[in-house]
Subunit: 363 residues, 2 copies
């Protein structure tokens, strides 16, 4: 593994879209007792279900602590690889490398700086050194060269690309005080262009209400093909999310992508607000002086947080009336893929969803 | 990775000889402060030299704790892979899988039971659970099926094979009370035949004097090709090693291998006795109530503990007059390989040598 100090752009590499073919998927086993209630038992089951569903499409590698290797190994099918790697939490989307490739199919990773979504300003846990080391170590394991981009704070969940020159982010996240406050919006955009090798960055104003990642784009909006997105949507004008989704809709309606296309926006319904219950809160360790979650706290539930596997869409289900609507809409948008809905409340409680706990490795 | 409960013999797999082509080599980074003096600084340098020498021939993967990943990564060339994996010590020969393959070139690992060379009887450290888990985890990382043979205690350093149906072991080690005392010699031999798929086992009576592994065969005798071995040898009749090497010589002289060949024995000279110095002892942490090494303690130095890489022999050097003789003899025996001698006192202090800290992966 060479550690590279150049950029994808100058080397002729770019980030493929998630809907392009994968050689595999990375996940991280849940363990942290302030993220995953009741010893992470339910989270383990939910993660395992996600891994098994993806493994029908592509090779899944699950990274796990020394202590939990045996449990993960026995809970997962033999065709899923389990690999020891220390982590601080389980957000493969955010801590695994962002992969780029060139026209010959050579793969490289990007090792962004990671500070638990906000560092000492509003980061979600402390310390985060194990997570910050993972991208490079994953590239080492894969024998893939890696771009050292640790001086720029970015999580994989805060970017989406269409594979044809367009990236999509939220202003709330990328301009947050806990990321790269020393850089201007233009400088951040330039960094994304260089490292992802895109020509245009779409800046949605907002993500999902109360999304503690400072509103990662991957919870609110996703490309389903070049020129087409799904946008998380509510018809309830009293919901704080309404104005946020509307602002995103209006922004996207006026924009074109890198190829000059108008963007087709599919409104993907949101479930009704999902809130923490007392029993769930009791199952979590305290992180510091305040509880990680409080009873009644609204969680950032969204169907947009799906994973596009080679042969399937792995989408979260919340036991809500909108589950079926969302599933049908995704079936229409991805006609060649099976839509697999997995009950995801036990992932949501940790602070993210199926897209957040996965990272694709392009073919 | 499938966990298999059958045997290599019944599945048509066998262990190739070390002098056959490799696809790579596994090593483990030294760290344990009761094995490696002065914070393992000198050991790291020596291990790195071994890794670099082997990496000229084949892909080297170095397994390392979370804590030392960055140091290993920076000390080793970029073409060497560094992978996090927890261990108790650094004996890849003994804790990595023994690899077997079939006629189609499919590779499988054997996951022997490991108890630090003697368990509660005379094991070298406690606990040994991390080491005992490594073979399976390495197979998982390599995506290679693995034989579960954990009910049988064996270290890779206690066996040698010629790749043509013959294995070689020492009675001292394989019949030791800390290995498999519930099994008879015949039962142990049968297990080796089944798992390595050999037809004959050669039982040398002894290994190297004071070898704390209960005299692993890989420190005293090694195949250089089918039908030919090097045997560690001293001409000093007052050395306790003399009678041990002589007994091995006499045993081998009367034996034939699995193909019915008489065995050609090359006497590889031993260096003069190498003993621990006071300063070296001071550099080691205590393991328990007694020091790990005592001043004047004789170490089990032997040139037989070399590694056969694809294009080179990596042999230990001790700064002894015999270094050159041994190197010349190995050059004659391996005419197509470069003979690379690496100063190995800093490995020897840990209780083994270059063969002990490596494990080949057959092509």
């Amino acid at each position: 593994m060479e550690i590279l100090y150049t950029t994808a752009q100058e080397d002729g590499f770019h980030m493929p879209a998630e809907f392009e073919p994968h050689r595999g998927c990375l996940m991280i086993w849940p363990e942290r007792p302030d993220s995953w209630q009741y010893g992470a038992v339910a989270a383990r089951k939910a993660f395992a279900r996600v891994a098994e569903a993806i493994a029908k499409s592509e090779k899944v590698t699950v990274l796990v602590s020394f202590e939990q290797y045996d449990t993960a190994r026995r809970m997962l099918s033999s065709h899923i690889r389990v690999l020891e790697m220390s982590s601080d939490d389980s957000w493969a989307r955010d801590v695994a490398p962002t992969f780029v490739k060139n026209e010959s199919g050579v793969l490289r990773g990007i090792d962004w700086g990671f500070n638990a979504c906000g560092g000492l300003v509003d980061g979600l846990y402390f310390p985060w050194d194990k997570d910050n080391k993972m991208a490079r170590k994953i590239c080492d394991f894969m024998d893939t060269d890696v771009y050292d981009c640790r001086d720029f704070i970015l999580e994989g969940g805060s970017i989406h690309v269409d594979g044809e020159g367009t990236a999509m982010v939220t202003e709330r996240c990328l301009l947050s005080a806990g990321r790269n406050p020393q850089l201007t919006k233009d400088e951040i955009e330039e960094k994304l262009k260089q490292m992802l090798n895109v020509q245009k960055v779409l800046w949605l104003p907002y993500g999902i209400y109360q999304d503690e990642t400072n509103e990662h784009v991957d919870n609110v909006c996703a490309f389903v093909k070049p020129g087409e997105v799904v946008l998380a949507w509510t018809e309830d004008e009293n919901d704080p999310q309404y104005a946020m989704s509307l602002a995103d809709y209006e922004y996207l309606s006026k924009e074109t992508d890198a190829c000059g296309r108008k963007i087709v926006i599919h409104k993907l319904p949101l479930p009704k607000p999902i809130c923490m219950e007392e029993e769930e809160c009791e199952g979590l360790l305290y992180w510091d002086d305040k509880p990680t979650r409080e009873e009644g706290e609204r969680l950032a539930a969204s169907y947009v947080n799906f994973y596009i596997a080679n042969k399937a869409i792995i989408m979260p289900a919340f036991g809500d009336a909108a589950d079926e609507k969302a599933q049908k809409m995704l079936a229409g948008l991805f006609p060649e893929r099976e839509i697999i809905a997995i009950p995801a409340r036990d992932i949501l409680i940790g602070g993210g969803n199926i897209h957040c706990i996965t990272q694709q490795i392009p073919l």
